[in-house]
């Protein structure tokens, strides 16, 4: 039981309608390969958490939906019988137990023998660098320490699948970056199938083998981080991931990222405009312009160039930097 191997996940026509009639998820198919880290990304209310909870077994899909772990149909198995590991946004550590007892809980429930349990818990604590905290109470831990305990607890019983629900949202920026790197290393070394929910695109890019961008209960696009950034399927994806500019040029609309554009002397480039604001960010500068056609454009330039609001400037776009929307839902740009 404790040596379960990791598994693929297949979801077929899973929809979710809540008791009050809200449709959280439109019928949806998705397959996740064994060992893959799949990130569900989207704004709040897009259905990503509902989808995760259906995979976990905390919500049942509407009639007709099916969830398979490998070959096994787990649609009607409650979460406690699915052998998953789950990490919650609020950590959900048990306040009446020590760190050690929290990590051991899943093993106790599985009636693992004492010696093996001790060894496994110590291994987990060491892996997450929290061995010194074993006897602490939960309320004596910092946010980052709690997150490590939550991870150790979730993987201690060697689950088939690891599910993470916005695990870093409650932490401050610096700690978030560090833990993000650690989680990435952990997932790679475990080789476990992982589903990771977030609304933070940087997190999604770093961690995801593939990213599922969701919107209004539907999948907007599935792809590698690179695909999604450079070849967004539609306007929603293009706008949700990174910043996009739109510029009308000779009867066509050009779509491009700020870092693929440059400021050139007036009269050159594809468009002309006046610099409104310059934000100095240290490693680069973000320049906001109004074009003569009344469009707003953002261009990123090196941090040593000197530009000032009020200046006229041309805007050039590198040809390879054009974003081609694979769908045709461009009209929503306004």
């Amino acid at each position: 039981m404790t040596s379960s191997t990791t598994t693929s996940i297949t979801i077929t026509s899973c929809a979710k309608t809540f008791a009050d009639g809200t449709r959280a998820l439109e019928p949806l198919d998705l397959s996740i390969q064994a060992g893959e880290t799949l990130v569900l990304l989207g704004p709040s209310g897009c259905g990503k958490t509902t989808l995760l909870r259906i995979i976990a077994g905390l919500e049942a899909p509407d009639r007709g939906g099916r969830v398979l772990f490998g070959e096994e149909d787990v649609t009607h198995l409650p979460i406690e019988r699915r052998n998953v590991g789950m990490v919650f946004q609020s950590y959900a550590l048990f306040p009446n137990m020590t760190v050690w007892d929290n990590v051991a809980y899943g093993l106790k429930v599985r009636r693992m023998d004492k010696a093996a349990m001790k060894q496994r818990v110590e291994e987990m604590l060491a892996m997450m660098h929290i061995d010194a905290l074993a006897d602490r109470r939960i309320d004596q831990l910092s946010g980052g320490q709690r997150q490590r305990v939550a991870l150790a607890r979730a993987i201690a019983a060697r689950p088939r699948v690891l599910l993470l629900d916005e695990p870093l949202t409650a932490l401050d920026a610096g700690l978030r970056d560090r833990l993000r790197g650690e989680i990435d290393a952990l997932l790679r070394s475990l080789g476990i199938t992982a589903v990771y929910v977030t609304h933070d695109q940087a997190e999604a890019m770093v961690l995801g083998d593939r990213i599922v961008v969701m919107s209004a209960g539907r999948i907007a696009q599935i792809g590698t981080p690179r695909d999604i950034y450079h070849a967004p399927a539609n306007a929603f994806v293009a706008d949700f991931i990174g910043t996009t500019n739109r510029l009308r040029h000779k009867d066509a609309t050009l779509v491009f990222r700020p870092e693929d554009a440059d400021l050139v002397p007036p009269g050159e480039g594809m468009a002309q405009g006046i610099i409104q604001v310059v934000h100095f960010l240290g490693d680069r500068q973000r320049v906001h312009l109004h074009t003569d056609d009344g469009e707003a454009v953002i261009v990123e330039i090196g941090s040593r160039r000197r530009v000032a609001p009020g200046q006229r400037s041309g805007i050039a776009v590198r040809p390879e930097g054009m974003v081609h929307l694979s769908g045709n839902a461009e009209e929503s740009a306004a």
């Binding site: 406690e80 019988r81 052998n83 590991g85 609020s90 429930v109």
Partner: protein, 272 residues
């Protein structure tokens, strides 16, 4: 440093005068009266030395403990159920369960007579079923049922308040680790309810120790401590005995509440 609120003390004055004159001084008088009898200070030991008083104390303690235990078990089951499920009719059920909250003990006594007295419905039903008429209102069992009657609503409310504060993610986390419904209840829910259980258990115990109205309405010779005190005072005109016994009783209930408060870490406002 000059206080920006010089009048604060004056605002407290009315309460302090009232409590001084009508509570603190009388309690001291009560303590003195307890020692004023022929036995002197030894009156305070009468709870141990007078067999009638000892018996009364033991009976009251046993009654209070068993009522507390039963009320906690019954109310935890019902309270958890109501806190964790939403279904049609739930709010009506909840209103009915908390309705007896405001009944004085004497009314509860009367209700128990209607339930299990000489003309009680329990007697009618048992006669139909077994031919024997079951009447227990006027015994210790009647008192037990009566105390249970006014304890259950209060404990249910405490349990529900505690259960609604419980973080749902904790239960989901336990389940994700493989815990069954029973294991979740044992390992997560009950530990989270502990402070509420201790606090309401202590109130339950203290109320059952000091309640007088129910026993009075059942009008029996059940020798619970409040009845003994009442008898000593009114029938035997034994002022010293009544005073010493009621001080001992007051001390027991206060200690119970005090211990509960330090165990559950709750503020004064949560206990008593």
């Amino acid at each position: 440093m000059p206080s920006p609120y010089p009048r604060l003390f004056i605002l407290l004055l009315p309460v302090m005068i009232l409590f001084g004159a009508f509570f603190l001084i009388p309690m001291v008088q009560l303590a003195l009266a307890g020692a004023s009898g022929p036995q002197g200070l030894a009156a305070y030991a009468s709870i141990l030395t007078t067999p009638r008083h000892t018996q009364s104390m033991i009976a009251t303690l046993l009654l209070a403990v068993s009522v507390t235990a039963t009320a906690l078990i019954v109310s935890t089951i019902a309270g958890l159920f109501l806190a964790r499920h939403r279904f049609p009719g739930r709010s009506v059920l909840l209103a009915l369960l908390t309705f007896p909250l405001a009944f004085p003990g004497v009314v509860v006594g009367f209700l128990i007579i209607l339930l299990a007295g000489r003309q009680g419905v329990v007697g009618d039903v048992s006669r139909m079923l077994t031919g024997e008429k079951l009447v227990f209102a006027y015994s210790l069992a009647g008192l037990f049922v009566g105390y249970l009657y006014f304890s259950i609503p209060r404990v249910i409310l405490t349990i529900m308040a505690a259960a609604e504060k419980l973080d749902g993610a904790l239960l989901e986390a336990a389940r994700s680790l493989g815990a069954s419904t029973w294991q979740v209840t044992r390992d997560i829910i009950l530990p989270a309810l502990r402070p509420g259980l201790i606090a309401s258990g202590a109130i339950c115990f203290a109320t059952a120790m000091g309640a007088f109205g129910t026993a009075f309405a059942l009008a029996t010779n059940i020798d619970v401590l409040p009845m003994t005190i009442y008898t000593e005072f009114t029938l035997n005109a034994n002022v010293a005995g009544a005073a010493s016994l009621s001080l001992v009783l007051g001390l027991v209930t206060w200690i119970a509440l005090f211990i509960a408060r330090s165990l559950s870490g709750a503020t004064t406002a949560a206990a008593a």
